[in-house]
Symmetry: C2
Subunit: 239 residues, 2 copies
DNA sequence: AAAATGTACCGTACAAAGTACGGAGACCGG
DNA sequence: CCGGTCTCCGTACTTTGTACGGTACATTTT
Protein backbone atom coordinates (compact mmCIF):
# COMPACT_ATOMS: atom_id res chain seq x y z
CA UNK A 1 0.00 0.00 0.00
CA UNK A 2 1.10 3.57 -0.51
CA UNK A 3 2.24 5.37 2.60
CA UNK A 4 0.10 7.92 4.40
CA UNK A 5 2.35 10.78 3.52
CA UNK A 6 1.25 10.36 -0.05
CA UNK A 7 -2.29 11.41 0.85
CA UNK A 8 -3.25 13.85 -1.85
CA UNK A 9 -3.43 17.51 -0.91
CA UNK A 10 -7.11 17.45 -1.82
CA UNK A 11 -8.55 15.37 0.99
CA UNK A 12 -12.27 14.87 0.51
CA UNK A 13 -13.22 17.46 -2.07
CA UNK A 14 -16.34 17.82 -0.05
CA UNK A 15 -17.61 21.01 -1.52
CA UNK A 16 -18.02 21.44 2.19
CA UNK A 17 -17.19 25.11 2.05
CA UNK A 18 -19.56 27.99 1.67
CA UNK A 19 -19.59 31.64 2.56
CA UNK A 20 -21.98 31.30 5.53
CA UNK A 21 -20.05 28.34 6.86
CA UNK A 22 -16.82 30.30 6.71
CA UNK A 23 -18.48 33.22 8.43
CA UNK A 24 -19.85 30.98 11.18
CA UNK A 25 -16.49 29.38 11.82
CA UNK A 26 -14.79 32.76 11.83
CA UNK A 27 -17.33 34.08 14.31
CA UNK A 28 -16.82 31.09 16.56
CA UNK A 29 -13.07 31.52 16.42
CA UNK A 30 -13.24 35.22 17.16
CA UNK A 31 -15.65 34.71 20.04
CA UNK A 32 -13.48 32.02 21.50
CA UNK A 33 -10.00 33.40 21.14
CA UNK A 34 -10.57 37.07 20.54
CA UNK A 35 -10.94 39.09 17.39
CA UNK A 36 -7.28 40.03 17.23
CA UNK A 37 -6.36 36.35 17.02
CA UNK A 38 -8.59 35.82 14.03
CA UNK A 39 -6.18 35.86 11.13
CA UNK A 40 -6.70 34.51 7.68
CA UNK A 41 -4.19 31.82 8.46
CA UNK A 42 -5.69 30.78 11.78
CA UNK A 43 -9.10 30.60 10.19
CA UNK A 44 -7.68 28.49 7.39
CA UNK A 45 -6.10 26.04 9.75
CA UNK A 46 -9.28 25.87 11.82
CA UNK A 47 -11.18 24.89 8.72
CA UNK A 48 -8.43 22.63 7.45
CA UNK A 49 -8.03 24.49 4.20
CA UNK A 50 -5.38 26.62 2.61
CA UNK A 51 -4.81 30.24 3.35
CA UNK A 52 -6.03 31.61 0.07
CA UNK A 53 -9.21 29.57 -0.12
CA UNK A 54 -11.39 32.34 1.31
CA UNK A 55 -10.65 34.67 -1.52
CA UNK A 56 -12.91 32.60 -3.67
CA UNK A 57 -15.78 33.49 -1.35
CA UNK A 58 -14.82 36.94 -0.13
CA UNK A 59 -12.86 39.68 -1.70
CA UNK A 60 -11.02 40.59 1.46
CA UNK A 61 -10.87 39.93 5.16
CA UNK A 62 -13.10 42.93 5.65
CA UNK A 63 -15.85 41.13 3.78
CA UNK A 64 -15.43 38.17 6.09
CA UNK A 65 -15.92 40.48 9.05
CA UNK A 66 -19.03 41.89 7.43
CA UNK A 67 -20.34 38.38 6.95
CA UNK A 68 -19.62 37.63 10.59
CA UNK A 69 -21.66 40.62 11.68
CA UNK A 70 -24.40 39.51 9.36
CA UNK A 71 -24.27 36.02 10.72
CA UNK A 72 -24.49 37.23 14.29
CA UNK A 73 -27.30 39.69 13.61
CA UNK A 74 -29.13 36.98 11.76
CA UNK A 75 -29.01 34.78 14.82
CA UNK A 76 -30.89 37.36 16.86
CA UNK A 77 -33.59 35.38 18.59
CA UNK A 78 -36.53 37.20 20.09
CA UNK A 79 -38.20 35.21 22.82
CA UNK A 80 -41.74 34.26 21.98
CA UNK A 81 -44.36 36.42 23.58
CA UNK A 82 -48.11 36.40 23.77
CA UNK A 83 -50.00 38.49 21.25
CA UNK A 84 -51.18 40.85 23.97
CA UNK A 85 -47.69 41.85 25.02
CA UNK A 86 -47.36 45.19 26.74
CA UNK A 87 -44.88 47.75 25.43
CA UNK A 88 -42.69 47.19 28.46
CA UNK A 89 -42.61 43.47 27.91
CA UNK A 90 -41.81 43.91 24.24
CA UNK A 91 -38.96 46.30 24.98
CA UNK A 92 -37.55 44.03 27.65
CA UNK A 93 -37.71 41.04 25.36
CA UNK A 94 -35.92 42.87 22.59
CA UNK A 95 -33.35 44.18 25.02
CA UNK A 96 -32.73 40.71 26.34
CA UNK A 97 -32.26 39.40 22.82
CA UNK A 98 -29.72 42.13 22.06
CA UNK A 99 -27.92 41.52 25.30
CA UNK A 100 -27.75 37.79 24.69
CA UNK A 101 -26.38 38.45 21.24
CA UNK A 102 -23.53 40.51 22.65
CA UNK A 103 -22.80 37.96 25.34
CA UNK A 104 -22.77 35.02 22.99
CA UNK A 105 -20.72 36.85 20.40
CA UNK A 106 -18.36 39.12 22.26
CA UNK A 107 -16.54 39.98 19.06
CA UNK A 108 -19.38 41.56 17.17
CA UNK A 109 -19.35 44.67 19.29
CA UNK A 110 -15.79 45.20 18.16
CA UNK A 111 -16.66 44.35 14.59
CA UNK A 112 -19.58 46.74 14.47
CA UNK A 113 -17.52 49.45 16.12
CA UNK A 114 -14.56 49.18 13.82
CA UNK A 115 -16.29 49.18 10.47
CA UNK A 116 -18.90 50.99 8.52
CA UNK A 117 -20.55 47.60 8.13
CA UNK A 118 -23.21 48.24 5.62
CA UNK A 119 -24.08 44.59 5.60
CA UNK A 120 -27.65 45.09 4.65
CA UNK A 121 -28.84 41.55 4.67
CA UNK A 122 -29.46 40.14 8.08
CA UNK A 123 -29.19 43.53 9.71
CA UNK A 124 -32.33 44.70 7.95
CA UNK A 125 -34.02 41.46 8.86
CA UNK A 126 -33.36 41.98 12.54
CA UNK A 127 -34.48 45.56 12.24
CA UNK A 128 -37.75 44.54 10.66
CA UNK A 129 -38.47 41.87 13.23
CA UNK A 130 -37.67 44.10 16.19
CA UNK A 131 -39.64 47.09 14.99
CA UNK A 132 -42.58 44.89 14.11
CA UNK A 133 -42.52 43.36 17.54
CA UNK A 134 -42.46 46.75 19.23
CA UNK A 135 -45.28 48.08 17.09
CA UNK A 136 -47.46 45.04 17.72
CA UNK A 137 -47.23 45.79 21.42
CA UNK A 138 -48.82 49.14 20.78
CA UNK A 139 -45.85 51.43 20.25
CA UNK A 140 -46.42 53.73 17.30
CA UNK A 141 -43.99 53.50 14.42
CA UNK A 142 -41.78 56.53 15.00
CA UNK A 143 -41.39 55.73 18.66
CA UNK A 144 -40.64 52.12 17.79
CA UNK A 145 -37.82 53.29 15.54
CA UNK A 146 -36.43 55.46 18.31
CA UNK A 147 -36.67 52.53 20.70
CA UNK A 148 -34.91 50.24 18.28
CA UNK A 149 -32.08 52.73 17.95
CA UNK A 150 -31.91 53.18 21.69
CA UNK A 151 -31.69 49.47 22.40
CA UNK A 152 -29.15 48.81 19.67
CA UNK A 153 -26.95 51.65 20.85
CA UNK A 154 -27.36 50.68 24.47
CA UNK A 155 -26.47 47.03 23.88
CA UNK A 156 -23.56 47.91 21.63
CA UNK A 157 -22.21 50.56 23.93
CA UNK A 158 -22.59 48.40 26.98
CA UNK A 159 -20.74 45.55 25.33
CA UNK A 160 -18.06 47.88 24.04
CA UNK A 161 -17.50 49.74 27.24
CA UNK A 162 -15.71 47.18 29.27
CA UNK A 163 -15.38 44.06 27.16
CA UNK A 164 -14.26 41.81 29.97
CA UNK A 165 -13.30 39.17 27.41
CA UNK A 166 -12.26 36.32 29.60
CA UNK A 167 -10.30 34.53 26.91
CA UNK A 168 -8.49 31.64 28.37
CA UNK A 169 -11.10 31.26 30.99
CA UNK A 170 -11.60 27.95 32.58
CA UNK A 171 -14.67 26.19 33.60
CA UNK A 172 -18.21 27.42 33.82
CA UNK A 173 -20.16 29.41 31.29
CA UNK A 174 -20.53 32.18 33.82
CA UNK A 175 -17.75 34.48 34.92
CA UNK A 176 -15.16 32.34 36.59
CA UNK A 177 -13.44 34.37 39.28
CA UNK A 178 -15.87 37.21 39.47
CA UNK A 179 -15.28 37.73 43.16
CA UNK A 180 -11.55 37.99 42.69
CA UNK A 181 -12.04 40.71 40.11
CA UNK A 182 -14.45 42.51 42.39
CA UNK A 183 -11.94 42.36 45.17
CA UNK A 184 -9.30 43.90 42.95
CA UNK A 185 -11.63 46.66 41.87
CA UNK A 186 -12.69 47.33 45.39
CA UNK A 187 -9.12 47.64 46.42
CA UNK A 188 -8.42 49.94 43.50
CA UNK A 189 -11.20 52.35 44.31
CA UNK A 190 -10.41 52.31 47.98
CA UNK A 191 -6.79 53.19 47.27
CA UNK A 192 -7.61 56.26 45.21
CA UNK A 193 -6.40 59.50 46.74
CA UNK A 194 -9.33 60.63 48.82
CA UNK A 195 -8.65 64.30 48.33
CA UNK A 196 -8.52 64.02 44.56
CA UNK A 197 -11.37 61.59 43.98
CA UNK A 198 -13.73 61.93 46.92
CA UNK A 199 -16.79 60.90 44.96
CA UNK A 200 -15.20 57.78 43.52
CA UNK A 201 -14.04 56.65 46.93
CA UNK A 202 -17.38 57.45 48.52
CA UNK A 203 -19.26 55.54 45.85
CA UNK A 204 -16.87 52.69 45.28
CA UNK A 205 -19.43 50.00 45.99
CA UNK A 206 -21.71 51.36 43.30
CA UNK A 207 -18.85 51.88 40.88
CA UNK A 208 -17.81 48.29 41.18
CA UNK A 209 -21.27 47.26 40.09
CA UNK A 210 -21.11 49.58 37.10
CA UNK A 211 -20.23 46.95 34.51
CA UNK A 212 -22.83 44.54 35.88
CA UNK A 213 -26.09 43.52 34.29
CA UNK A 214 -28.03 45.85 36.57
CA UNK A 215 -26.54 48.79 34.67
CA UNK A 216 -27.84 47.36 31.42
CA UNK A 217 -31.25 46.84 32.96
CA UNK A 218 -31.26 50.41 34.21
CA UNK A 219 -30.95 51.75 30.69
CA UNK A 220 -33.71 49.48 29.47
CA UNK A 221 -35.93 50.64 32.31
CA UNK A 222 -35.32 54.25 31.34
CA UNK A 223 -36.61 53.51 27.87
CA UNK A 224 -39.62 51.67 29.21
CA UNK A 225 -40.51 54.55 31.48
CA UNK A 226 -40.34 57.09 28.71
CA UNK A 227 -42.29 54.98 26.26
CA UNK A 228 -45.02 54.27 28.77
CA UNK A 229 -45.23 57.90 29.77
CA UNK A 230 -45.44 58.96 26.14
CA UNK A 231 -48.21 56.48 25.41
CA UNK A 232 -50.13 57.57 28.48
CA UNK A 233 -49.69 61.24 27.67
CA UNK A 234 -50.97 60.80 24.15
CA UNK A 235 -53.98 59.05 25.59
CA UNK A 236 -53.92 55.87 23.63
CA UNK A 237 -56.65 54.33 25.69
CA UNK A 238 -57.40 51.33 23.58
CA UNK A 239 -59.56 48.90 25.49
CA UNK B 1 29.60 76.54 2.39
CA UNK B 2 28.62 72.94 2.97
CA UNK B 3 25.67 71.79 0.95
CA UNK B 4 22.22 71.30 2.38
CA UNK B 5 22.23 67.58 1.83
CA UNK B 6 24.88 67.30 4.47
CA UNK B 7 22.41 68.44 7.12
CA UNK B 8 22.86 65.96 9.92
CA UNK B 9 20.10 63.45 10.52
CA UNK B 10 19.55 65.06 13.90
CA UNK B 11 17.81 68.26 12.97
CA UNK B 12 17.06 70.39 16.01
CA UNK B 13 17.63 68.10 18.96
CA UNK B 14 14.76 69.92 20.48
CA UNK B 15 13.96 67.64 23.27
CA UNK B 16 10.60 68.55 21.88
CA UNK B 17 9.11 65.14 22.37
CA UNK B 18 7.09 63.86 25.27
CA UNK B 19 4.56 61.14 25.84
CA UNK B 20 1.52 63.45 25.98
CA UNK B 21 2.68 65.27 22.88
CA UNK B 22 3.02 62.01 21.00
CA UNK B 23 -0.40 60.94 22.18
CA UNK B 24 -1.95 64.22 21.09
CA UNK B 25 -0.39 64.02 17.65
CA UNK B 26 -1.47 60.41 17.30
CA UNK B 27 -5.00 61.31 18.29
CA UNK B 28 -5.08 64.13 15.79
CA UNK B 29 -3.79 61.86 13.06
CA UNK B 30 -6.28 59.13 13.84
CA UNK B 31 -9.17 61.56 13.99
CA UNK B 32 -8.17 63.10 10.72
CA UNK B 33 -7.29 60.13 8.59
CA UNK B 34 -8.86 57.22 10.42
CA UNK B 35 -7.55 54.89 13.05
CA UNK B 36 -6.55 52.23 10.56
CA UNK B 37 -4.21 54.68 8.88
CA UNK B 38 -2.43 55.39 12.13
CA UNK B 39 0.72 53.33 11.84
CA UNK B 40 3.90 53.73 13.76
CA UNK B 41 5.56 54.92 10.60
CA UNK B 42 2.90 57.44 9.65
CA UNK B 43 2.98 58.84 13.15
CA UNK B 44 6.75 59.07 12.96
CA UNK B 45 6.71 60.95 9.71
CA UNK B 46 3.99 63.27 11.00
CA UNK B 47 6.22 64.12 13.93
CA UNK B 48 9.34 64.23 11.81
CA UNK B 49 11.10 61.61 13.86
CA UNK B 50 12.28 58.08 13.29
CA UNK B 51 10.12 55.03 13.47
CA UNK B 52 11.55 53.64 16.65
CA UNK B 53 11.52 56.84 18.63
CA UNK B 54 8.23 56.09 20.34
CA UNK B 55 9.55 53.02 22.02
CA UNK B 56 11.43 55.23 24.39
CA UNK B 57 8.11 56.61 25.59
CA UNK B 58 5.79 53.64 25.16
CA UNK B 59 6.38 49.95 25.29
CA UNK B 60 4.12 49.19 22.36
CA UNK B 61 1.62 50.71 20.00
CA UNK B 62 -1.10 49.52 22.36
CA UNK B 63 0.27 51.83 25.00
CA UNK B 64 0.08 54.68 22.54
CA UNK B 65 -3.58 53.89 21.96
CA UNK B 66 -4.17 53.85 25.70
CA UNK B 67 -2.50 57.23 25.97
CA UNK B 68 -4.71 58.51 23.18
CA UNK B 69 -7.82 57.42 25.03
CA UNK B 70 -6.48 59.03 28.14
CA UNK B 71 -5.73 62.21 26.28
CA UNK B 72 -9.22 62.35 24.83
CA UNK B 73 -10.95 61.58 28.10
CA UNK B 74 -8.82 64.15 29.79
CA UNK B 75 -10.05 66.77 27.36
CA UNK B 76 -13.64 66.23 28.43
CA UNK B 77 -14.99 69.71 29.00
CA UNK B 78 -18.16 70.16 30.96
CA UNK B 79 -19.91 73.41 30.18
CA UNK B 80 -20.07 75.71 33.11
CA UNK B 81 -23.37 75.78 34.88
CA UNK B 82 -24.93 77.75 37.65
CA UNK B 83 -24.71 76.30 41.15
CA UNK B 84 -28.48 75.78 41.23
CA UNK B 85 -28.48 73.50 38.21
CA UNK B 86 -31.42 71.11 37.95
CA UNK B 87 -30.77 67.38 37.49
CA UNK B 88 -32.03 67.60 33.94
CA UNK B 89 -29.68 70.43 33.12
CA UNK B 90 -26.76 68.61 34.67
CA UNK B 91 -27.49 65.45 32.73
CA UNK B 92 -27.89 67.32 29.50
CA UNK B 93 -24.66 69.19 30.04
CA UNK B 94 -22.76 65.99 30.72
CA UNK B 95 -24.37 64.31 27.74
CA UNK B 96 -23.40 67.18 25.52
CA UNK B 97 -19.83 66.99 26.74
CA UNK B 98 -19.67 63.28 25.98
CA UNK B 99 -21.21 63.78 22.60
CA UNK B 100 -18.80 66.54 21.74
CA UNK B 101 -15.95 64.32 22.78
CA UNK B 102 -17.03 61.61 20.38
CA UNK B 103 -17.57 64.07 17.57
CA UNK B 104 -14.24 65.77 18.00
CA UNK B 105 -12.39 62.50 18.38
CA UNK B 106 -14.12 59.99 16.15
CA UNK B 107 -11.39 57.46 16.76
CA UNK B 108 -11.75 57.08 20.49
CA UNK B 109 -14.97 55.13 20.19
CA UNK B 110 -13.04 52.57 18.20
CA UNK B 111 -10.14 52.69 20.61
CA UNK B 112 -12.32 52.19 23.64
CA UNK B 113 -14.21 49.39 21.92
CA UNK B 114 -11.18 47.46 20.82
CA UNK B 115 -9.22 47.39 24.01
CA UNK B 116 -9.58 46.64 27.65
CA UNK B 117 -8.24 50.14 28.19
CA UNK B 118 -7.63 50.26 31.87
CA UNK B 119 -6.09 53.64 31.47
CA UNK B 120 -6.85 54.78 34.95
CA UNK B 121 -5.52 58.25 34.83
CA UNK B 122 -7.70 60.70 33.01
CA UNK B 123 -10.59 58.28 32.88
CA UNK B 124 -10.98 58.45 36.62
CA UNK B 125 -10.67 62.18 36.52
CA UNK B 126 -13.54 62.49 34.08
CA UNK B 127 -15.56 60.07 36.18
CA UNK B 128 -15.01 62.12 39.29
CA UNK B 129 -15.93 65.38 37.64
CA UNK B 130 -19.06 64.02 36.01
CA UNK B 131 -20.37 62.26 39.07
CA UNK B 132 -19.67 65.28 41.21
CA UNK B 133 -21.54 67.49 38.81
CA UNK B 134 -24.54 65.19 38.79
CA UNK B 135 -24.61 64.93 42.57
CA UNK B 136 -24.37 68.67 43.03
CA UNK B 137 -27.53 69.02 40.99
CA UNK B 138 -29.35 66.92 43.56
CA UNK B 139 -28.99 63.41 42.20
CA UNK B 140 -28.08 60.99 44.98
CA UNK B 141 -24.81 59.10 44.62
CA UNK B 142 -25.98 55.69 43.46
CA UNK B 143 -28.27 57.20 40.87
CA UNK B 144 -25.50 59.48 39.73
CA UNK B 145 -23.27 56.46 39.14
CA UNK B 146 -26.01 54.78 37.13
CA UNK B 147 -26.48 57.96 35.14
CA UNK B 148 -22.77 58.24 34.46
CA UNK B 149 -22.74 54.68 33.16
CA UNK B 150 -25.80 55.31 31.07
CA UNK B 151 -24.38 58.41 29.44
CA UNK B 152 -20.99 56.87 28.80
CA UNK B 153 -22.53 53.78 27.25
CA UNK B 154 -24.99 55.82 25.26
CA UNK B 155 -22.37 58.15 23.85
CA UNK B 156 -19.98 55.32 23.11
CA UNK B 157 -22.61 53.12 21.51
CA UNK B 158 -24.04 55.96 19.50
CA UNK B 159 -20.63 56.86 18.16
CA UNK B 160 -19.80 53.24 17.47
CA UNK B 161 -23.02 52.36 15.77
CA UNK B 162 -22.64 54.14 12.53
CA UNK B 163 -19.30 55.92 12.52
CA UNK B 164 -19.91 57.90 9.37
CA UNK B 165 -16.21 58.77 9.30
CA UNK B 166 -16.05 61.19 6.43
CA UNK B 167 -12.31 60.90 5.98
CA UNK B 168 -11.24 62.75 2.94
CA UNK B 169 -14.04 65.18 3.31
CA UNK B 170 -13.68 68.58 1.89
CA UNK B 171 -14.77 71.86 3.18
CA UNK B 172 -16.96 72.67 6.11
CA UNK B 173 -16.78 71.38 9.63
CA UNK B 174 -20.26 69.97 9.28
CA UNK B 175 -21.18 66.99 7.17
CA UNK B 176 -20.44 67.89 3.61
CA UNK B 177 -22.94 66.14 1.39
CA UNK B 178 -25.43 65.19 4.04
CA UNK B 179 -28.33 65.51 1.67
CA UNK B 180 -26.71 63.24 -0.88
CA UNK B 181 -26.30 60.56 1.75
CA UNK B 182 -29.87 61.01 2.84
CA UNK B 183 -31.03 60.63 -0.71
CA UNK B 184 -29.12 57.39 -1.06
CA UNK B 185 -30.56 56.04 2.15
CA UNK B 186 -34.01 57.10 1.18
CA UNK B 187 -33.66 55.28 -2.09
CA UNK B 188 -32.33 52.23 -0.32
CA UNK B 189 -35.22 51.95 2.08
CA UNK B 190 -37.75 52.64 -0.62
CA UNK B 191 -36.33 49.88 -2.76
CA UNK B 192 -36.59 47.22 -0.09
CA UNK B 193 -38.97 44.39 -0.96
CA UNK B 194 -42.26 45.58 0.46
CA UNK B 195 -43.51 42.11 1.28
CA UNK B 196 -40.40 41.19 3.20
CA UNK B 197 -39.76 44.46 5.05
CA UNK B 198 -43.08 46.22 5.31
CA UNK B 199 -42.16 48.05 8.50
CA UNK B 200 -38.89 49.37 7.18
CA UNK B 201 -40.53 50.67 4.04
CA UNK B 202 -43.38 52.20 5.98
CA UNK B 203 -41.02 53.92 8.38
CA UNK B 204 -38.26 54.86 6.00
CA UNK B 205 -38.42 58.55 6.83
CA UNK B 206 -37.87 57.82 10.50
CA UNK B 207 -35.17 55.24 9.79
CA UNK B 208 -33.20 57.72 7.77
CA UNK B 209 -33.13 59.99 10.78
CA UNK B 210 -31.93 57.16 13.01
CA UNK B 211 -28.26 58.11 13.01
CA UNK B 212 -29.05 61.77 13.57
CA UNK B 213 -28.52 63.81 16.70
CA UNK B 214 -32.19 63.55 17.62
CA UNK B 215 -31.67 59.88 18.37
CA UNK B 216 -28.90 60.75 20.79
CA UNK B 217 -31.10 63.36 22.43
CA UNK B 218 -33.89 60.82 22.77
CA UNK B 219 -31.70 58.57 24.87
CA UNK B 220 -30.65 61.46 27.06
CA UNK B 221 -34.26 62.47 27.53
CA UNK B 222 -35.11 58.95 28.63
CA UNK B 223 -32.52 59.21 31.37
CA UNK B 224 -33.74 62.63 32.43
CA UNK B 225 -37.30 61.39 32.69
CA UNK B 226 -36.36 58.44 34.83
CA UNK B 227 -34.11 60.45 37.10
CA UNK B 228 -36.72 63.14 37.62
CA UNK B 229 -39.41 60.57 38.26
CA UNK B 230 -37.22 58.79 40.77
CA UNK B 231 -36.42 62.00 42.60
CA UNK B 232 -40.08 62.98 42.70
CA UNK B 233 -41.14 59.55 43.91
CA UNK B 234 -38.63 59.56 46.73
CA UNK B 235 -39.91 62.96 47.75
CA UNK B 236 -36.69 64.87 47.90
CA UNK B 237 -38.45 68.16 48.46
CA UNK B 238 -35.51 70.29 49.39
CA UNK B 239 -36.46 73.93 49.14
C1' DA C 1 39.76 71.04 27.67
C1' DA C 2 39.44 66.05 26.86
C1' DA C 3 37.39 61.83 28.11
C1' DA C 4 33.58 59.31 30.06
C1' DT C 5 28.91 58.66 30.72
C1' DG C 6 24.07 59.23 29.87
C1' DT C 7 20.15 60.49 27.16
C1' DA C 8 17.42 60.87 23.06
C1' DC C 9 16.93 59.37 18.84
C1' DC C 10 16.81 56.12 14.90
C1' DG C 11 18.63 52.64 10.71
C1' DT C 12 18.28 48.02 9.84
C1' DA C 13 16.21 43.80 9.94
C1' DC C 14 13.01 40.24 11.09
C1' DA C 15 8.27 38.16 12.02
C1' DA C 16 3.49 38.14 11.27
C1' DA C 17 -0.46 39.17 8.52
C1' DG C 18 -3.19 40.41 4.17
C1' DT C 19 -3.38 39.21 -0.49
C1' DA C 20 -1.96 39.04 -5.85
C1' DC C 21 -0.67 35.58 -9.03
C1' DG C 22 -0.69 31.69 -11.10
C1' DG C 23 -0.96 26.65 -10.87
C1' DA C 24 -2.75 21.92 -9.75
C1' DG C 25 -6.05 18.48 -9.27
C1' DA C 26 -10.91 16.93 -9.87
C1' DC C 27 -14.90 16.68 -12.58
C1' DC C 28 -17.55 17.27 -16.97
C1' DG C 29 -19.18 17.30 -21.73
C1' DG C 30 -17.42 15.81 -26.08
C1' DC D 1 -8.85 10.51 -24.45
C1' DC D 2 -9.18 15.93 -24.33
C1' DG D 3 -9.73 20.37 -23.28
C1' DG D 4 -12.73 23.43 -20.06
C1' DT D 5 -14.18 24.79 -15.72
C1' DC D 6 -14.39 24.79 -10.86
C1' DT D 7 -12.31 24.59 -6.48
C1' DC D 8 -8.63 24.96 -3.89
C1' DC D 9 -3.99 26.51 -2.51
C1' DG D 10 1.69 27.24 -2.65
C1' DT D 11 4.56 30.97 -3.23
C1' DA D 12 5.90 35.40 -2.78
C1' DC D 13 5.32 40.41 -2.19
C1' DT D 14 3.86 44.32 0.84
C1' DT D 15 2.82 46.45 5.06
C1' DT D 16 3.06 46.60 9.83
C1' DG D 17 4.91 46.16 14.67
C1' DT D 18 9.06 45.90 17.03
C1' DA D 19 13.93 43.86 18.70
C1' DC D 20 18.68 45.11 18.47
C1' DG D 21 22.07 47.82 18.38
C1' DG D 22 24.25 52.22 16.84
C1' DT D 23 24.90 57.43 16.62
C1' DA D 24 25.06 62.11 18.10
C1' DC D 25 24.71 65.58 21.43
C1' DA D 26 24.85 67.07 26.54
C1' DT D 27 26.63 66.79 30.94
C1' DT D 28 29.88 65.37 34.18
C1' DT D 29 34.46 64.08 35.56
C1' DT D 30 39.32 64.62 35.72
Amino acid sequence: MNDASAVPPTPPRDRTLSAPLIARQALALADERGLEKLTVRSLASALGVGTMTFYGYFRSKEEILDAMADEALGSLALPEGEPDETPRQAIENVAQAFRRLMVEHPSIAQILSSRITDSPQARRGAMEVVIDRLMRSGIPGPLAVRSYGFLMVHALGFASYQTPRPWARGTSDESPDESELRRQQHHFYASLPLTEFPRLVELRDELIELPGEAQFAFGVACLCDTVEATLAREGHLDG
